[in-house]
Symmetry: C2
Subunit: 233 residues, 2 copies
């Protein structure tokens, strides 16, 4: 079965969340006289991401969108850091996730891929976040799929199943593109084809991820331009 | 509250479903020696659209996507017309709805509007249909909202409510754009602003819709270029 659609993880795979959140946090907090290691601040915020989604995945709480989880996690982090902000300032900082920069190869890669394939994020980010990010960064998505429409967080099966179903495709006609092996393995279990993209800087300097074993995924590439070439787009 | 997003009815407002379905039906059926008034064939198919959704709206059957309703309606119509097709031919004809042409002003109008506003269909069409149509016609949507993500057919409240909610906006920040007063009135009841677009040819020659009363909606325009001008985009 030929590939008709590419479904993308976004945080880390499409955008550099750590450097972008660090920049946004510094822009909002430094003028208030707050000084931190902003990369570490971004990582500390992000560290609360999987535990927050775990509660939804395991049914401890009903589904809520990622904007809401991000905000709860930010409030916890600010308390831990002893930083006091107004509700409006917390909202503004929380929307840092709408202002993430793509990796340098992304826009050119997606533009090429779009000529031949349907492109959609299958991210844990919600629609409002994904739409603002895409407009700012120039990401040419055909639709926004993922957690909010599935009402399930990856790696839950429904996040992948709903994406294929809503595109009117068999899972084997969908290629999941991600920098994270756990995401690709979960997609493969639902019948998706898989493309690993190496993003060595995702977690910041000195935290480079290892390439997966040869043959672990259908494709393994250095960036989206290499992916377009591998797919003949 | 200022307008942040434009939400669009699609069939009739963005695309000329009647002439396009007529063309597709003729292209598939005429080579088999079948002759009909193809505009009337398109209208007869479309006439089964509201009754089919009504059963879902009224809870007579669970939500199913429009591709499925279109196909059921086509099978009924073909039976009535005494036309016998294979399952594959029925599927191909059903996907005529993926190949609808936009009205001549649409792509230029949307391209201008997109610079300033979030653009999303809030259509009763499903995502697979909307994505294929948009790619073929060059419709620059930021997201695909509407019946499938709402699991409710317009004019049910949830179709509008879910669109505003998923965009992270108040209803008053959303402008519903449609050629059909019933759709605009339903959106207005949910707090949306409204823009009527006049599409005199939707139902074919000799079936021109009347303009609504002055003041019935926030905007009333002849096409998407006039809408862009009215909105200063």
């Amino acid at each position: 079965m030929s590939i008709e659609a590419l479904t993308f993880d976004v945080f880390g795979t499409v955008v550099d969340w750590r450097a972008s959140v660090a920049r946004e946090a510094e822009a909002i907090l430094a003028p208030k006289g707050i000084q931190r290691d902003w990369g570490a601040f971004a990582s500390a915020w992000r560290a609360r991401y999987q535990p927050a989604m775990k509660k939804v995945r395991e049914g401890e709480r009903p589904f809520v969108i990622l904007d809401a989880l991000h905000r709860e996690n930010l409030v916890d982090l600010l308390n831990e850091e002893g930083i006091s902000l107004s509700e409006a300032e917390i909202d503004a900082l929380n929307f840092a996730w709408r202002r993430l920069d793509p990796w340098p190869d992304v826009v050119a890669g997606l533009t090429g891929l779009k000529r031949r394939y349907i492109l959609a994020p299958v991210s844990n980010g919600n629609i409002a976040l994904m739409v603002r990010m895409a407009r700012r960064a120039g990401l040419p998505w055909d639709a926004i799929l993922g957690a909010e429409v599935a009402r399930a967080y990856k790696p839950q099966a429904e996040a992948y199943d709903s994406a294929a179903r809503m595109l009117g495709l068999e899972p084997a006609q969908c290629l999941m593109v991600a920098a994270h092996p756990y995401d690709l393995r979960a997609a493969a279990r639902r019948g998706f084809k898989t493309a690993y993209v190496h993003r060595p800087l995702e977690e910041g300097p000195g935290a480079e991820a290892a390439w997966p074993e040869t043959g672990a995924f259908d494709y393994a590439v250095a960036d989206f331009l290499a992916l377009a070439e591998a797919l003949g787009a």
